[in-house]
Symmetry: D2
Subunit: 312 residues, 4 copies
């Protein structure tokens, strides 16, 4: 059976090839175990697979990725309709130094590395391999794979999972200069039922301002603040149709089934000429959201009962 | 049949006696024509009549009254439960100079007048009756009535309607120093069905802040601003139980049956530990409320449909 | 020497006659001891005395006065230029029942009382003098004074200080229905140097909105909130020149010499087409204002040093 | 003279090698003409050159770069002290298809391209070169340079300026799928005098919130809104020291020498525990900033005169 003959609802697209951080994110998805994982070249291809029905979901980087594509992800989510984020996954962005079996650290004079990864391991490499040379690779995985194709380099900077796919030895682990670096990935599907509330959820939206008068962003954010809804991410992105027009990518603490989030979305929808609901889904960090009683579900129900009493 | 034997649902209480500005406000109420008008001494008595079922409604001054009682009105509405404002009436606060039949302006040397009314006609009196003397009266009506009881004074400062009740001549009209002065009255009833929307409505509420942290009032007002609801009146009043605690008397443009007002009331109810809905009622000035499309009823309905679509 | 021959800088105007609550407020002013106290009929006369140089200061009620005049005070302060509030005084608004010497409570069948005071002592009178009659008086002091002029009534409702001026017996004290009622008075002078900071100060201003767009009041209040300046009073008052135009009477916690208050006044001045600074003065309640470090004077000085460092 | 022997104040660092979009940005800098341009591997190296005094300034991508590094840029600016943005440059991000001299479009079967650039020219390539193969390159410049090193590919996707550095033919221009794509670059120097106001300026800052209470971002943005200062960019970035802590990268319309911007910076400094001023500099788009009279310099000067008048 050819590789592309997998049933679409058994297929997950991701930025490949095998061994990338994106694959490490996909490995966290329980439902994807044992299914077909389809490597693609970029975020656009991954989302197009979902839209075209070639795969059931795509794993894409959305924040702080060293593999690039974050702006592309945001712009794609803002313009491709009928997508829905269904899960969030965090992958520590750290690196290992790998080499052909039998190589020791003392043997290493030339390092193959994607330029961005090279930049993020610079301090370690300078200290432990003084005077080494650098051959750039087209990707983190390619850096490692190249070791087996030819002997231009003695070692490569690669993601930790690389040795599952390539017969290489690990010479050093955690060689990244920032030990806390993390990339956030999201699993994107076509419009489906919203996942259930877990008490530790996130809601992602994209919204435009009605016009570019000063203070408009403030007005928009008041829609959240007046309902006690906290934001964990906000980014402005030029819309691209005219100078000075922006859309905002926003993550809210909470789930669309939380009364305060639903009410904030209503307010936002009335205010903004263009709101895209990207989804409510469990937080990767599993942190429980703390909400004051004033903004709990009960408070919303009581207020509605009070109002109904006044009207009748 | 004794005066008090009138059926309560045929009786309207007002600050008496006949001839006051409050009576002039009551005269504007179509439903009160031909019914029993019960004069009382103050706002408390008027509202007590309503609560005790002695009258169906009470006319009371709520803003800028020269007959006093505005703070008393606000405090009474904040503390007496189950009252509802059902109408609003504006009465120009101007004065006439009246005298016993046959008197001319040249005859006037002593003027009987309530001290507040005297203060508001001071410029006219000084100019037209230089050297006159002033005898204070206990009320505007009493000033006129006294002329018929004894001859201590030659003239009185009184409300324009006074000659319907007393056999007096008008020596001069519109003698008030501020020709634009207006008092706002409200007709208060027990909790009843809210009057229908007219497109020119007002909603009165009283609300407390959750605590006295700086910025709390701002947060409360954001509940209105985020729904495009304008305020035409706001006053802070000490609650009286502890220093530094305030309640706010607020008039909103619009009717509880307007989606944006209803939604703002929901937000307010969740925010404030104590909200009193005093009523929605037609505006006396009949000014149509202008609402941007963003905050019209359709905008609320569309947002709800959108949200329902997302959830299902 | 005639009564009006006192030197103006030795004269204080107040709502008379002797015995009013306003006189009780004036009695709290140390600098006024032993000076000429000039009783006038209303707030307008009191302020006119100050403007015309007939007195150095006037004591007037500004909040919650049963003697009326609060709206009048606010409007006068908004329209008469070059006035400055220099002090604030609280007077408990309670009442005594007084009678001609020798009278006992059992003798009382008719009570002389200003209608507003009568309303505020209604519960006590109904309970302790069931079946009594009421003769209205033109003022609280007149109620008492009338007892000595004729015998229409056996007792009068009067301010506690009345027995300093009239030879009357006190039959009962604290007969007011609301034992916590307080009236706030301010001492108003011509523009003078601002009194020193005490750490427990208040700043009074009047400001108009630039136009009547929804949300304008919110914008104005943000000028205070962004500097951590709390409000202890806010009232809207129709300006009177056109329907729907309001000015706001506002009391701020703090002194114009507090950096955060000065900065908020700058912001307000830029925002509002018409700001009136009424004065900074010690609070009557002597409550210390709590200010977070973020908004203390040091925070302002440090920020300025930082900015200067950036610019140079 | 060796390459590194150039005087530091004659040297500009940029993401190399020659031919990158970053070099195209540097080519817009008048002062850099005829000086030494030092190619480096990433943003960190470029900024380190500036800090260490190896170069006078560095050109780095700050928004929407297909060459990556935007998050890295933001994090570097937030953590490396004493840097100052002194200019902003926009480079259209479009591509050309290049080949060895003599090659025609019909000859092309294999395309060498950086994966991100390949993703952004996908539509054009699929339409005009159906069935072509793709060899990934480590950078846009390397894609072109590889054509001269070996014949694995017949053509390469490269930046428009590439033919100034490599002897290649252009087979097609503007092959990017988004013809409006632009990358924003900034020229970063050590702390220097702020460039003069031009009337079309931008101010870049980074600020942290005092704590993670809901509504804090709103409070921070009110510092701008209350001074009529508009934002053209806002992005949240995790600080990295603890979950849920964010810093905000913000671009303001206007110059630190504009009164409203200076005042907003003062407010921000008081509010935020950590503010970094990155610089005021001319806008690349040369758009004049429109400011309402209310927030013009004159308004600030008048307010200060008014306040001084009140205090003295």
């Amino acid at each position: 059976m050819p590789a592309d003959a997998h049933a679409p609802d058994e297929t997950y697209s991701y930025l490949g090839p095998a061994g990338t951080f994106t694959e490490a994110a996909l490995a966290q998805v329980t439902a994807a175990q044992g299914k077909n994982w389809r490597p693609v070249n970029n975020v656009g291809e991954a989302l197009n697979d979902v839209v075209a029905g070639r795969s059931i979901a795509a794993m894409i980087a959305i924040e702080n990725s060293i593999e690039g594509g974050v702006s592309a992800t945001q712009d794609a989510l803002a313009t491709i309709p009928d997508l829905r984020i269904v899960g969030e996954y965090l992958v520590p962005v750290n690196f290992v130094l790998v080499a052909r079996p039998g190589t020791t650290l003392a043997d290493v004079s030339i390092v193959n590395a994607h330029p961005v990864a090279y930049g993020q391991t610079h301090l370690w490499l300078d200290k432990n391999l003084p005077g080494h040379g650098h051959i750039p690779a087209s990707s983190n995985v390619a850096a490692a794979a190249n070791l087996l194709l030819h002997d231009h380099a003695n070692a490569a900077v690669a993601p930790p999972g690389i040795t599952k796919h390539y017969d290489l030895d690990v010479l050093a682990t955690e060689i990244g200069d920032n030990p806390n670096a993390v990339t956030r990935f999201v699993l994107v599907s076509r419009t489906v039922a919203v996942p259930d509330r877990t008490g530790s959820d996130k809601t992602s939206i994209i919204a435009e301002l009605p016009d570019d008068k000063a203070g408009r962003l403030l007005e928009m954010l008041e829609q959240f603040a007046t309902r006690g809804v906290n934001m964990s991410l906000i980014e402005s992105r030029p819309i691209g149709d005219a100078l000075g027009r922006y859309r905002f990518i926003i993550d809210l603490d909470g789930h669309i089934h939380d009364e305060r989030v639903a009410d904030a979305l209503l307010g936002l929808k009335r205010f903004s000429p263009n709101v895209i609901f990207l989804g409510s889904y469990p937080r990767a960090d599993k942190l429980a959201i703390e909400v004051s009683t004033r903004y709990g579900d009960d408070s919303f129900l009581e207020a509605r009962e009070w109002l109904n009493g006044l009207m009748n």
